[in-house]
């Protein structure tokens, strides 16, 4: 089986669009300075044209404008939506500046009237009853509402991912109820898989096994790369957990190890992971989008690898 056959889905991620770069904040700033909503919309369309089937995006407010542009420019554009929430950094910043209550007002202010009513009723009831699982469901609905309203009409919601900041905290505390409730809410309400992002993949598998949750209800997103970057407790343990779970829906992220690996190295490694059937990768330019998605969709078109890795010794005196 070649890589194109192995990978059922190749998705574009939004990290470069929102200034997230796990190797260099300087690079993130440079890329962000060259980006705007129009360019992001253009890169997305090129990615979809070259084999990306969906967009994994944080609920960052910038994407609202990008979705509006896509809808205006190309109303027939069809791709899959994989929202990832919450956009944690935004909440941390607003909470620091305005306090928790100010942050909630900000969030509610961005909703539709229906969304506001839902948040008011659902949020109030869950706060009054101190029901954390209900609060999480209300929060998910409130976050997704504003993005689904502006997404191009032919897009399709495929999964709703919960950020690792919540998943890994719930995992640390072994909060099985939270996982069960989140998964069942997304399955029942949106009729799609519930997504969980983690940087502690074997531990999450262990906990999910203990809960008895069916793997056909969930998708997992976790780093897989040759360097073992962000694979905890070790690359080997993550590979073992993946190998033991045929049929599991895992999306590999950080496949380029934040740019330390080139596409050739990344694809060779992924090709060796039989149970990895999807990958998500971020691109920051039109050219980068063409090369990346053509390569991932068909290894025969693999050209010279994009040189991204900084050699250990750059120069000698």
């Amino acid at each position: 089986m070649d890589l194109a056959e192995q990978l059922e889905r190749v998705l574009i991620g939004d990290n470069p669009f929102i200034g997230v770069d796990h190797m260099s904040q300087d690079r993130a700033r440079e890329r962000l300075a060259q980006l705007n909503s129009e360019r992001e919309a253009r890169i997305l369309q090129i990615a979809f044209k070259n084999g990306a089937s969906g967009f994994v995006f944080s609920t960052h407010p910038n994407h609202l404008e990008v979705f509006r542009l896509l809808k205006d420019q190309n109303p027939d554009l069809s791709f899959d939506l994989y929202p990832l929430l919450p956009y944690a950094q935004g909440y941390i910043r607003t909470a620091t500046e305005k306090g928790m209550i100010g942050m909630l007002y900000d969030l509610i202010g961005q909703l539709s009237w229906g969304g506001k009513m839902k948040a008011l009723v659902g949020g109030s009831v869950s706060a009054l009853t101190m029901n954390p699982t209900k609060m999480l469901s209300t929060f998910v609905d409130v976050e997704i509402d504003r993005f689904l309203r502006v997404a191009p009409p032919r897009t399709k919601l495929k999964a709703v991912f919960l950020h690792e900041i919540i998943v890994d905290l719930a995992l640390a505390f072994q909060l099985k109820d939270i996982f069960e409730s989140y998964i069942s809410h997304v399955n029942d309400h949106y009729k799609v898989r519930a997504g969980l992002v983690t940087r502690n993949f074997p531990r999450l598998i262990q906990l999910l096994d203990e809960t008895g949750i069916s793997y056909d209800k969930i998708s997992l997103m976790t780093p897989f790369n040759k360097m073992g970057f962000q694979m905890n407790p070790s690359r080997e343990a993550c590979e073992r957990s993946l190998a033991q779970k045929p049929g599991i829906d895992v999306m590999g992220m950080s496949i380029l190890a934040a740019g330390m690996l080139n596409l050739k190295e990344a694809t060779e490694y992924i090709h060796g992971l039989e149970n990895l059937r999807s990958v998500v990768v971020g691109v920051s330019s039109e050219d980068h989008a063409v090369r990346t998605f053509q390569t991932l969709r068909n290894t025969s078109t693999l050209e010279a690898p994009i040189p991204q890795r900084a050699p250990e010794v750059l120069a000698r005196n």
């Binding site: 200034g19 997230v20 796990h22 190797m23 260099s24 904040q25 300087d26 993130a28 700033r29 962000l32 300075a33 950094q89 941390i92 910043r93 620091t96 500046e97 305005k98 306090g99 100010g102 101190m130 029901n131 954390p132 890994d168 905290l169 995992l171 640390a172 505390f173 072994q174 909060l175 939270i178 940087r199 502690n200 531990r203 360097m227 073992g228 970057f229 962000q230 694979m231 905890n232 407790p233 070790s234 690359r235 190890a257 934040a258 330390m260 900084a310 050699p311 250990e312 010794v313 750059l314 120069a315 000698r316 005196n317």
Partner: protein
């Protein structure tokens, strides 16, 4: 004394091969005071390392404490930390992650209990040097394990920078420039972070870079500079502090929470020495050496975080938090000391006092 001198890889190997078997057998029981962002982070890591959720905590906020009881029904959640210390006889360590101005009374109360309780306090130790010194001396007198959350010391890039200075790779340091920036405050804020006694950018954003400067070069003998209010009425939003050291080294740092395009808090340090330049931040460490020094050859060496930073037993936040919490647990087990301790943290408070009086 449990002082880690090697790389993060060596430290984690040490923690996960030799000592860790004993960690698994008798992992100290930890209680958390303060269930805010940092409290949850440390509680999460300790829960994961132990394999069981932390079962004792205190949180003064009614909403948070009720929510904690709902989420962790088997845990004992107090609203009064004094009551927690009095009733919980089975704990060996306490992690304090409350607002800065509450650190001194809480740590003093723990020490007054005369129990052999190890104490970890989130940075900075106190709002001022007098209080920091007081609790440092009390902790020293009682002999309990004590540590302060300057986790950057456990980050792979900064650890490599420490090695470079310790091994004289860049020769004698001559001058440095540095900053600690974040893009957080662009209008008037609310709460204790914006009150003059408990807040301001020096206390909130300054501790890590100031600790790193002291860790690398020792305490400065002279500090000059200025503070500016940009958006806040009562506290400084920007600080420029120039320092001179007994060794002849001089340098400066800029600290601000109002710098656009710094999505995450960022620390940067560039040191010029007689044999080259060391540049370090969270993302990389770069060495430009004129001549070979030990095993490090002349030339430019760029080491990025993904190749320096090993996996950790459980990742929550940045990996250095896990390494730091492991170091605290290991010191608790051995009833030993660990760096950075209250003494190290008091030095940071002393430097912050000087900057806050500019």
């Amino acid at each position: 004394m449990t002082c880690y001198r090697g790389t993060v890889k060596e430290l984690i190997r040490e923690q996960t091969t030799g000592a860790p078997s004993s960690i698994k057998l008798e992992t100290p029981r930890i209680a958390i005071v303060g269930l805010g962002k940092m409290g949850l982070l440390h509680a999460g890591i300790h829960s994961a390392l132990k394999g069981n959720p932390v079962s004792v905590a205190s949180e003064t906020d009614g909403f948070l404490s009720k929510m904690a009881r709902k989420i962790l029904p088997d845990a004992r959640i107090y609203q009064d930390y004094k009551e927690m210390i009095e009733n919980e006889h089975d704990i060996q360590g306490i992690i304090v992650t409350t607002p800065i101005h509450t650190h001194t009374p809480i740590v003093s109360e723990i020490l007054r209990s005369k129990r052999d309780l190890g104490i970890f306090v989130e940075k900075p130790l106190s709002t001022n040097h007098d209080d920091a010194k007081k609790i440092y001396e009390a902790a020293k007198g009682s002999g309990v394990t004590n540590m302060v959350g300057f986790q950057k010391r456990f980050a792979a890039t900064f650890r490599r920078a420490k090695d470079a200075v310790a091994k004289d790779e860049i020769g004698t340091p001559q001058f440095f420039k540095s900053y600690s920036f974040m893009a957080d405050i662009f209008r008037k804020g609310q709460g204790w972070r914006f009150q003059p006694e408990s807040g301001g950018v020096t206390l909130e954003v300054g501790p890590h870079i100031l600790d790193l400067i002291i860790w690398l070069f020792g305490e400065p003998m002279m500090v000059s500079g200025f503070r500016k209010k940009l958006y806040s009425d009562d506290v400084e939003d920007y600080v420029h502090a120039a320092m001179q050291f007994g060794s002849g080294l001089s340098g400066y740092t800029d600290i601000s929470w109002s710098v656009r395009n710094y999505r995450l808090p960022e620390i940067f340090l560039e040191v010029h020495g007689t044999n080259g330049v060391l540049t370090v931040c969270d993302d990389y460490v770069k060495l430009q050496l004129d001549e070979d020094r030990g095993e490090t050859l002349a030339g430019t060496h760029m080491l990025r975080k993904p190749e320096l930073q090993p996996s950790v037993p459980f990742l929550l936040g940045d990996p250095e938090f896990c390494v730091e919490d492991q170091a605290f647990l290991q010191a608790l087990q051995k009833k030993g000391s660990v760096e950075p301790d209250f003494g190290d943290a008091a030095k940071v408070n002393s430097l912050m006092d000087k900057i806050r009086s500019l």
